[in-house]
């Protein structure tokens, strides 16, 4: 008994130096590693984006030969989706979910360590594939066969990386589901959970549902490439379109995997800085759930040009348009939360408002893309590029920034530099729109995506877009500076630095103790 108590007394002790990070089972340490990893990947993917935009700055081939250009777009997509955005949300979940539900740590602490340490392996596979014979995969982040059957070793490395990333995501998701369902503080019923926890619970279910499908798809591709099967090869009785169906059965829920936690973050921040409870909490929960369910029956809207029968096109068009309804409900609820609040506009709030504003534009172009006849024109053009960067950059990424600024005082015990952070917001906001708004016009006027060179009528908009992209990329270095500055010093943060905060993490000291709640709080 004495031994047990002794261990208990030394709870906060952990190895120091590198071994602390390698062996840690602590949700905060792992959350921190997730976030730094995702930022490193964000810079890597960003570097590739800068290469793409530099090549597209002017007509003609200047910097990247076409094949390398294709590798850049492919790896930019894969790294940003699987390396930057998804791990960032898992990192936020690791830090926040236990604190917000009144738990000491995640449910499966060792698995948590494992699911993180898989990521650097997958990340290095992706990056090092640039240096193998034949270069990195160049078939687009969607790696449609038969093109993806043509590549070299780089494609196999990509397939292996996706397997590893998938395994990591599934473990992370199981961990989050178990934590949320079993470790809530007494009295915290499901319908009392913070929205961020709710959205992550639903997201985690989506992950468990679709990541195995992706694993299956890439395995089939792998066996087609090396073991003589013909799942996607018409000459052997297979069907290239089958790949697209299976891929997008994963791929569309994946889109919501990257946006639902963003909805959750924004649903925490808007009420805090409006000093008013979230409007329509239960309808927010139902809207999130309906988006998740609908997201599983809309996959073929990515494939309106493969030549489906009219009935198929119409079904997927109607189902896709339906998603606008729960998404609209969310936007209206956020607006109603702000309405007659007592608002202040610190950086988390600015990023959240920026999120709503630009996400709605992305939502509009989403509805436009859902309408089959219009999609026939804009599919695989820059219009689609503009659309999904509006929902993934000014959507998911802006929400991640909002969340980081919101919780940074809790994590570090210090306030970030508000002035610089606001500058980061405005620079991001302006340059983002310079980079991506004009791409709508490029797409409408007929510029296909994934081309290294373009005809002359697209020249001026491409130049504007590139300038915006360079500015956006540079602005993110400011973010790095702000975060490092906050970690190293600065004004001490109060336990509850935002006076409107109502969730449990604000009842803990700042910085939060190594083990969040050793005794569960009681929720009335």
């Amino acid at each position: 008994m004495a031994v047990v108590q002794d261990v208990h007394g030394h709870h906060d002790h952990h190895p120091s130096g590198i071994m602390r990070w390698v062996t840690t089972t602590n949700h905060k340490d792992i959350g921190t590693m997730y976030l730094w990893f995702s930022f490193a990947m964000f810079l890597t993917g960003g570097f590739l984006a800068m290469g793409i935009r530099a090549e597209l700055f002017m007509p003609g081939i200047q910097i990247l030969e076409p094949e390398l250009f294709n590798s850049f777009t492919t790896l930019h997509g894969l790294i940003m989706v699987f390396g930057a955005i998804m791990p960032a949300f898992v990192g936020l979940a690791n830090w926040q979910v236990p604190m917000m539900i009144g738990a000491p740590d995640m449910a499966f602490a060792r698995m948590n360590n494992w699911s993180f340490w898989l990521l650097p392996v997958a990340g290095s596979l992706l990056i090092s594939s640039f240096f193998v014979p034949g270069g990195a995969a160049a078939g687009g982040w969607t790696f449609y066969p038969p093109l993806s059957a043509q590549g070299g070793l780089g494609v196999d490395m990509m397939i292996f990386a996706i397997h590893i990333l998938g395994a990591s995501s599934i473990m992370g998701a199981i961990n989050i589901i178990t934590t949320i369902l079993n470790m809530r503080a007494p009295g915290m019923t499901l319908m009392k959970m913070p929205m961020f926890v709710w959205t992550w619970l639903i997201t985690a279910y989506l992950l468990v549902l679709v990541m195995p499908v992706l694993a299956g798809t890439v395995t089939m591709l792998l066996t087609d490439r090396h073991f003589g099967t013909s799942f996607f090869n018409a000459a052997g009785g297979g069907d290239p379109v089958l790949f697209q169906h299976v891929f997008w059965f994963f791929g569309h829920p994946e889109v919501y995997i990257m946006i639902l936690p963003a909805f959750g973050i924004v649903s925490e921040i808007i009420p805090t800085f409006s000093r008013k409870p979230l409007f329509g909490y239960s309808s927010m929960v139902y809207a999130t759930a309906s988006i998740a369910i609908l997201s599983c029956v809309v996959w073929a809207h990515h494939m309106f040009t493969v030549g489906m029968p009219a009935v198929g096109q119409l079904f997927f068009m109607y189902a896709t348009m339906l998603i606008a309804v729960p998404t609209g409900v969310k936007v209206f609820n956020w607006t109603a939360t702000m309405w007659r609040g007592s608002m202040t506009f610190e950086t988390p709030m600015l990023f959240s408002i920026g999120f709503i504003f630009l996400f709605v534009i992305g939502g509009f172009s989403g509805v436009v893309c859902a309408i089959v006849p219009i999609d026939i024109q804009v599919q695989d053009t820059y219009y689609v590029i503009a659309h999904f960067h509006y929902v993934l950059v000014s959507g998911a990424l802006f929400a991640i920034f909002a969340g980081v600024y919101y919780w940074l005082p809790k994590w570090c015990g210090r306030m970030y530099d508000e002035k610089l952070a606001k500058m980061h917001f405005w620079l991001s906001m302006i340059f983002f729109n310079v980079a991506f708004f004009v791409q709508h016009f490029l797409g409408l006027a007929g510029m296909p995506r994934r081309i290294p060179d373009y005809s002359l009528q697209f020249a001026d908009f491409n130049m504007i877009s590139s300038i915006g992209a360079f500015g956006f990329g540079l602005s993110q270095l400011l973010f790095l500076y702000i975060v490092i500055k906050c970690i190293r010093g600065g004004e001490k943060a109060a336990d509850k630095p935002w006076d409107g905060g109502t969730t449990l993490e604000w009842t803990l000291p700042s910085p939060a103790p190594y083990h969040s709640f050793e005794t569960p709080p009681v929720i009335k």
Binding site: P66, A310, G328, L444, A445
Partner: protein, 273 residues
């Protein structure tokens, strides 16, 4: 408001409208050249107006709130947090708007899929990286040729100034008559490609081992340019599509010339033997 200022206003609006027309193909779809493309164009404009109205409504309210309901002007927060009535209203209205958008779209989808009773059928085959065309049925039956990018590589590598139709020009145009229903069957030889001509509102993936089809009827003669729209490898950006629409007589002449030329090839081959 004085009549002079009204005139100025009307004048400047008209000027703005006119200049936007002049630039329209830069900011909008290319000028539609078929019934379907026109439908798409109109539905897109209709969708934009709806989006704009919603945008102004939602953000009007939000920005009013941002200006008025802020702590710095001493506004005290209210405490309401739900209302079933408004929830029902803002679920129902978007549904109705969506129906209004889906109805015309449905009609167009059905029209786009009706490839029956075509006058001419042409097979378009995607290759890495060019198109092959075979006239399968109708006037011109039997004609067959490849169509490759004709922009000189020196222009791509910036050694020569770029021409007007840089990357949008081919050695052999796909030639069709005006006002006839053209059915294009797509397939591919190696990887996925997509046959896309924006002016006709047609885009269809070309899938190796499978055939798909599309149709269009060109409104007037001219040259219409499009590109491959599905990533197909290194030279995906360098396999354009050019459709040359001719008057009926000129088309008949073109067919005759083509057939004579191929007959000559056959004869030469026969003589050679």
């Amino acid at each position: 408001m004085s009549s002079k200022s009204v005139m100025t206003l009307v004048g400047s609006v008209a000027l703005a409208f006119y200049s936007s027309m002049a630039f329209s193909s830069k900011y909008n779809f290319q000028e539609p050249q078929s019934v379907i493309a026109q439908d798409i164009y109109d539905q897109h404009i209709w969708a934009l107006w709806i989006c704009l109205a919603i945008f102004v409504g939602v953000f009007g309210v939000m920005f009013y709130s941002i200006v008025k309901h802020r702590k710095s002007v001493g506004y005290k927060a209210a405490n309401f947090h739900h209302s079933t009535t408004v929830e029902v209203i803002w679920t129902t209205i978007p549904l109705l708007i969506l129906v209004a958008m889906a109805y015309p779209a449905t009609k167009t989808v059905i029209a786009m899929k009706d490839t029956s009773a075509s006058d001419i059928t042409i097979k378009a085959t995607g290759y890495q990286w060019m198109w092959g065309y075979d006239y399968l049925q109708g006037e011109g039956e039997g004609i067959s040729f490849y169509s490759k990018l004709s922009t000189p590589p020196a222009q791509v590598t910036n050694k020569e100034p770029k021409g007007e139709n840089y990357l949008l020009e081919v050695d052999n145009n796909l030639v069709v008559p005006v006002g006839k229903k053209i059915r294009v069957i797509t397939t591919a030889n190696d990887v996925l490609h997509a046959w896309w001509v924006p002016a006709f509102g047609v885009k269809q993936d070309a899938i190796p081992g499978f055939i798909r089809d599309l149709w269009f009827t060109a409104d007037k003669p001219g040259l219409y340019r499009g590109q491959c729209a599905e990533l197909c490898g290194k030279d995906h950006g360098f396999m354009p599509i050019v459709v040359e629409v001719l008057e009926q007589e000129k088309y008949a002449q073109w067919v005759a010339d083509k057939q004579k030329a191929s007959a000559a090839v056959v004869t030469t081959a026969a003589v050679g033997n």
